[in-house]
């Protein structure tokens, strides 16, 4: 398993796109900045929505808070795109790094949770059926979301320290 991942990392690192990412001096810092822009938008907008799902700021209709969510998705897209750029540029720093797998685990939890919410509740949100106080299941989704996004940040920050990358 590990051997296969190492081979994959060696192959990916040898591709011309990986090399291009490494030899363009401004690219990595610019991607870091965009990664943090994305992180802030995501944790701010999604966190706001999660807090509302949990029952804070009840004077904000859930359907209204929902209309800001494209900005959270934009933030996620920014962070994901730049994150993939980091991975392609230096795959060897990630494939043996336990912090990376912890981060991916919480990314999967957060995204599965968000997808579940959209699949089950989106129509009810948009028809304003949830505007008052949502059911307990919705509050749990809010808690899982905000906790897992903060763990994504935590494990991202741990990348250079636990797995000794970079």
């Amino acid at each position: 398993m590990h051997h296969t991942l190492d081979l994959f990392a060696v192959w990916l690192r040898g591709t011309s796109i990986s090399e291009a990412i490494r030899v363009t001096p401004w690219l990595w810092p610019v991607c870091e900045i965009l990664h943090f822009f994305g992180l802030s938008l995501l944790i701010g907008i999604a966190g706001f929505f999660d807090l509302r799902l949990m029952g804070f700021m009840k004077r904000v209709p859930i359907s209204a808070a929902w209309t800001l969510m494209p900005w959270a998705k934009f933030g996620f897209a920014l962070a994901a795109l730049t994150g993939v750029t980091f991975f392609i540029g230096a795959p060897d720093q990630y494939v043996d790094n336990p912090a990376f797998y912890a981060k991916v685990f919480f990314l999967i939890v957060a995204n599965a949770n968000a997808a579940y919410f959209e699949a089950i509740y989106r129509r009810r949100v948009e028809s304003r059926a949830l505007d008052g106080d949502g059911p307990m299941a919705v509050k749990v989704i809010g808690v899982v979301s905000i906790v897992s996004w903060f763990f994504v940040i935590y494990w991202g920050r741990m990348l250079p320290f636990i797995g000794n990358a970079f």
Partner: protein, 157 residues
């Protein structure tokens, strides 16, 4: 000045923060700094985007509760930022990038206070939107993003 910076950097705390092989030293403080950043800039973005015309269905009044959240993010970062500075004082204390970042943050704080007064300072009249509040929202969003730019840049000086 340089002696003071060196004394800070070589103090027990500065040395511990920089060199302790513990996840609770530099890594924990840097993590707090990242989380505070997300809470402050993200919470601010919610209010700014609303004032700039997105999510118009969101009533403004309850968004005043974002300010305590933003201040938590701000103070977490002020304190963790001082700790990070002490650990690296001779570098951070002598680069224009860090000075620029401090100025940006100072202006950002003034803008936040002005934004709160403009939108929520009318007492009984409730929250109001004016051309000024929109301008302040745009400036605030830009300033805190610039704080991220200069903060990230610190990693390369």
């Amino acid at each position: 000045m340089m002696e003071l910076l060196a004394a800070l950097e070589n103090s027990g705390f500065g040395t511990w923060l920089r060199e302790a092989p513990s996840i609770w030293a530099y890594p924990a403080v840097l993590t707090l700094h990242t989380i505070g950043l997300g809470v402050l800039v993200g919470g601010n973005a919610v209010l700014d985007l609303r004032l700039l015309g997105w999510g118009r269905a969101i009533p403004l009044a309850p968004l005043e509760r974002l300010f305590p959240v933003m201040w938590v993010g701000f103070w977490v970062n002020a304190i963790s930022g001082v700790a990070l500075f002490v650990g690296d004082a001779t570098t951070k204390g002598t680069t224009w990038v860090f000075m620029t970042k401090l100025v940006i943050i100072a202006v950002g704080v003034v803008l936040l206070l002005a934004l709160r007064r403009t939108v929520y300072g009318r007492g009984e009249a409730g929250a109001v939107e004016t051309p000024t509040s929109r301008m302040l929202a745009a400036a605030s969003l830009a300033l805190w993003f610039l704080a991220i730019v200069t903060g990230r840049y610190m990693a390369y000086v």
